[in-house]
């Protein structure tokens, strides 16, 4: 299991992530009364990007992008191998810093500002992400994901506040509106394409794939809130993950972009109000 699961993650996560992305585009299109692209369009896009020439502003972009991808895969693989969750999250933020490096190393205006905002988004997310790991630790007395999935009850019963905080920052992590600060799927905005402005051809494809890996990893954490030793929790977890993803699409399509300082205030307020209070109650009860 400890070997098999990481390999499955390595192979299947881009497939799942790509399909989810395809669904996203389809559902978004329907919400906007369009037909939308085929479900497999993200794969076609990536395939085409790889076929194009690799345009860069400075050569080091490529190796930083590859590092970002590999660190993201490593984080997910560790997570799926049942390792320490808090360590995984630390590694996740290290991976994120390489995306920031990729953006600022160019010194190109849009990319640079996008990088700054990416960093800002990291700062908004990190408390809630770390608190999630702590919530699980208080509940099950371990950070190891392999033990967490064998809990007696679903963690969400005791950790609803943590779940809410995590859902909130999930929107930031997925760079979806109203928190699509650092980059967005629409180039007709003030920051053009933000962090991805200077990524061309293969590098953009790598970014796309990394995003799929990341989304699958973040949704796996959502699933972890539901999973317990009862096998029936697995379909439940899948349903909750799909519902979460739908919720993200809905928010993305119904909200306007928010200023970054507002994002910080809001995300930290939610983290304190939901996860913080849940934490206090949890510690008082135990």
């Amino acid at each position: 299991m400890r070997i098999l699961m990481p390999i499955l993650y390595l192979l299947l996560a881009p497939l799942v992530g790509g399909l989810l992305d395809g669904m996203d585009r389809k559902i978004s299109a329907r919400m906007q009364r369009r037909v939308g692209p085929p479900l497999l369009q993200p794969f076609y896009d990536v395939q085409k990007l790889f076929a194009k020439q690799r345009i860069v502003v400075t050569n080091s972009q490529t190796f930083l992008m590859i590092t970002y991808l590999v660190l993201m895969i490593a984080t997910g693989a560790l997570f799926y191998s049942g390792a320490d969750m808090l360590m995984c999250f630390f590694l996740l933020s290290t991976a994120g810093i390489f995306l920031y490096f990729t953006a600022v190393v160019t010194d190109s205006p849009y990319s640079y500002i996008g990088g700054q905002r990416e960093l800002f988004q990291e700062m908004c997310c990190e408390p809630a992400v770390l608190l999630t790991a702590i919530g699980f630790y208080i509940l099950e007395d371990t950070f190891q994901t392999r033990d967490l999935i064998h809990a007696d009850r679903s963690a969400i019963v005791a950790l609803p506040g943590f779940f809410i905080a995590f859902l909130f920052i999930l929107t930031i992590k997925m760079r979806k509106s109203p928190f699509d600060e650092s980059t967005s799927h629409h180039p007709h905005q003030e920051l053009v394409k933000g962090v991805t402005t200077e990524l061309g051809g293969g590098n953009l494809a790598l970014f796309q794939i990394t995003e799929w890996y990341e989304n699958v990893l973040m949704l796996s954490v959502v699933a972890l809130f539901i999973l317990n030793r009862n096998p029936w929790s697995i379909p439940c977890a899948v349903l909750v993950v799909l519902a979460t993803y739908f919720l993200e699409i809905l928010i993305d399509n119904t909200s306007a972009r928010m200023r970054s300082q507002k994002m910080l205030q809001l995300s930290w307020a939610v983290t304190i109000a939901a996860a913080g209070i849940n934490l206090v109650i949890l510690i008082l009860v135990r």
Binding site: Q53, R54, I55, V56, V57, T58, N59, S60, T62, F63, I66, V70, L71, A74, L78, A83, D84, L86, M87, F90, L91, S93, T94, I97, F98, Y100, F101, V104, V105, T106, D107, S108, P109, Y110, S111, Y112, I113, Q116, L119, F120, E122, M123, C125, E126, P127, L130, L131, I134, Y137, Q144, V192, T197, E198, G200, G202, Q261, W268, I272, L279, I283
Partner: protein, 638 residues
């Protein structure tokens, strides 16, 4: 057999006195190049002797009346000196903070009868660790300073040449620091404590500008206030309990002796001033006017750690008490708030200063919780922080000598302009926060332990503070690696002795990172066993394995990615500017149709989170907390 102990204390002080008399730079350098290795050798000898004796704590020098008299005389000389300085600067009230505690201590020394005979010197793992930091980090900084001060006086011609004074105080400080960490006797501790405060005061005022003098007196009164609390605590405790050592104090406090508990609180308060925790953080920020070596030595690597050292000693006594709870809260709060203020700083040395306070805050929080796991984390934080900050300060100093600026914005593209210094800077910063370097594992352990001890406030502070810490460091790293288009070539005028020190620091940083499971097993575990009696393993083997994997991943992945991406065919283009480029990457056509230079700068949010907006409210809040702590502990609820 233990000859190295008196040698370590007396020899640097003598060298300091010698350096004060010598005004020829070459001879001075010669002396320093002999004295520093001698101090390092003596420290190694001390370590070897300690382990030859079985690695158990050793208590020495039980009956030493002469030495005690010398210390008493030293206290009085120090008091006269401080009073004289204060009167000359017309800051009369500060002298009271020296006169009152000194007279109290001296009066007690002369009158108190029936004291238990006890050791004056104690050597154990914790004091040895401090000795190693002082000897090696401190020693390298003095070597660095020999080169740095030459360059400093070339650029700052307005500063009067007083290098003899500078080096004299630095060596005096090193001697005092050894005395402080090796002393077991409370009065001796107090004396060396005050000596380091005065050294810091003298070095901050080195340039004699108005700002420097103001800042030096601020540092003086804050540290002396701590010293006063320390003296009051010691006198009260010794009068009641009739014992005079630090370990006896901890023991008494654990046994529930009220006087000991009050003394522990007063000492912890003194530690807060020394470690520049809120509300006393401003002195450390002001101390940045001093030449960089003194910032590196006193205000980051060693002296401020004296506060942490004393808190680690008191940790068993603070664990689970009101004092511990408050100290942990104040430390955590300082960690979080000062890391926010650090985001708003443009001056590299200010960022380092705030991050020093912030990291010290984390160590204070660890000590306040006082569990073996947190002390484990705290000890590692201390090691990593000492090396990394010393590296960073020296590097920023060398960079400043080359660029004539320490503004972060001027470090844009430093990697391409001063590659060596930029790489050292990168290692130093990475050591402060990136996986898998030591800070991170310490944070991991501190988080877990604060969950175990159910300290919600500290958990929240660490979690949020960790986010803000990452933010300002990453911002800095991004600045260094960002491609520079303004091809202004800078000459690297870093001297050989500066480079020597920087290289050793960088190597030590990486080595400590790679070897830290070993260090944990052979050194930190016995240290904890000494402090807490019993001790169980902090890190399970699963976590250790995971760490090895992490280290491999984070080191190898960028390397392999770099090598494999070299062969890739890429097409270089200009960066995207809506088609308004003027044929290159650093100019664009503005709305008037004129070419305009492009300059990318970071956002520092200065008006919102700068020092002015946040510092005063934080100081007020923590002062209130300290007052409450005093009331509760002295009032006797605890």
């Amino acid at each position: 057999m233990w000859w190295s102990i008196p040698f370590l204390i007396i020899f640097p002080i003598c060298i300091g006195a010698l350096l004060y008399c010598i005004r020829v730079q070459k001879i001075r350098k010669g002396i320093a190049y002999i004295a520093t290795p001698a101090v390092m050798a003596a420290t190694i000898d001390l370590v070897v002797t300690f382990f030859k004796n079985g690695g158990q704590p050793v208590e020495l020098y039980v009956n030493v009346p002469v030495a005690s008299h010398v210390i008493t005389a030293g206290e009085i000389i120090l008091m006269i000196f401080v009073t004289w300085k204060c009167i000359r600067a017309r800051k009369y009230w500060i002298s009271l903070l020296s006169i009152v505690p000194t007279l109290m201590i001296v009066y007690m020394e002369l009158t108190l009868q029936g004291m238990e005979e006890a050791a004056h010197i104690r050597v154990d793992h914790l004091s040895l660790l401090m000795c190693l930091i002082v000897a090696f980090v401190g020693g390298l900084i003095t070597i660095y300073a020999m080169g740095y001060m030459d360059g400093y006086h070339q650029h700052h011609t307005e500063v009067p040449e007083r290098r003899h004074f500078f080096f004299a105080v630095v060596y005096l400080f090193i001697g005092a620091m050894f005395g402080f960490v090796l002393s077991a006797d409370l009065v001796w501790i107090d004396f060396f404590w005050e000596t380091t405060s005065v050294c810091s005061f003298l070095l901050i005022g080195y340039t004699q500008t108005e700002e420097a003098v103001t800042n030096s007196f601020r540092a003086l009164w804050m540290n002396l206030l701590g010293g006063t609390a320390l003296a009051v605590g010691i006198v009260y405790f010794e009068n009641v309990a009739k014992v005079s050592t630090l370990s006896a104090l901890v023991q008494n406090s654990q046994d529930g002796v009220k006087a000991a508990a009050v003394c522990v609180m007063l000492m912890a308060f003194a530690a807060l001033t020394k470690a520049a925790q809120l509300p006393f953080s401003t002195w450390l920020i002001g101390a940045m006017v001093a030449p960089t070596p003194s910032s590196a030595l006193l205000h980051s690597a060693t002296m401020v750690k004296a506060g942490i050292y004393i808190l680690f000693r008191l940790a068993p006594a603070m664990s689970g008490t009101m004092t511990g709870y408050f100290i942990a809260g104040i430390g955590g709060f300082t960690f979080f708030m000062t890391s926010i203020i650090a985001i708003g700083q443009v001056d590299a040395k200010k960022v380092l200063a705030y991050s020093t306070i912030s990291n010290l805050g984390l160590m204070v929080a660890c000590a306040g919780i006082g569990k073996p796991e947190t002390i484990w984390a705290g000890v590692f934080l201390m090691m990593f922080h000492a090396i990394s900050k010393s590296l960073m300060f020296q590097d920023v100093g060398a960079t400043e000598n080359c660029l004539h600026s320490r503004n972060l914005e001027d470090m844009h593209g430093l990697l391409y302009r001063l590659p060596k210094l930029a790489v050292f800077m990168f290692i130093g910063i990475a050591g402060m926060y990136l996986a898998p370097f030591g800070m991170l594992i310490s944070k991991w352990s501190a988080l877990r332990a604060s969950v175990d001890s159910k300290n919600v406030l500290v958990i929240l502070f660490i979690v949020f503070g960790s986010a803000t810490t990452s933010f300002y460091w990453s911002k800095w790293l991004g600045k260094i690696i960002s491609r520079t288009m303004h091809n202004v070539q800078v000459k690297d005028i870093t001297k050989k002795n500066e480079m020597f020190s920087l290289t050793i620091h960088a190597v030590a940083m990486v080595a400590l990172c790679a070897l830290f499971p070993v260090v944990s097993n052979i050194y930190v575990h016995p240290l904890l066993a000494e402090t807490f009696g019993t001790y169980t393993d902090v890190l399970s083997s699963a976590v250790m394995n995971m760490l090895v994997v992490l280290i491999l991943i984070v080191f190898l992945v960028p390397l392999i990615a770099y090598l494999s991406s070299k062969g890739l065919h890429t097409n270089m283009k200009l960066s995207y500017m809506n088609g308004a480029n003027c044929g290159n990457d650093n100019t664009f056509t503005d709305s008037f149709g004129d070419p305009r230079k492009l300059h990318m700068a970071n956002d520092y949010f200065t008006e919102r989170i700068g020092r002015h907006a946040l510092m005063v409210p934080c100081q007020l809040a923590v002062t209130a907390a300290i007052v409450v702590m005093f009331c509760i502990v002295i009032g006797g609820v605890a």
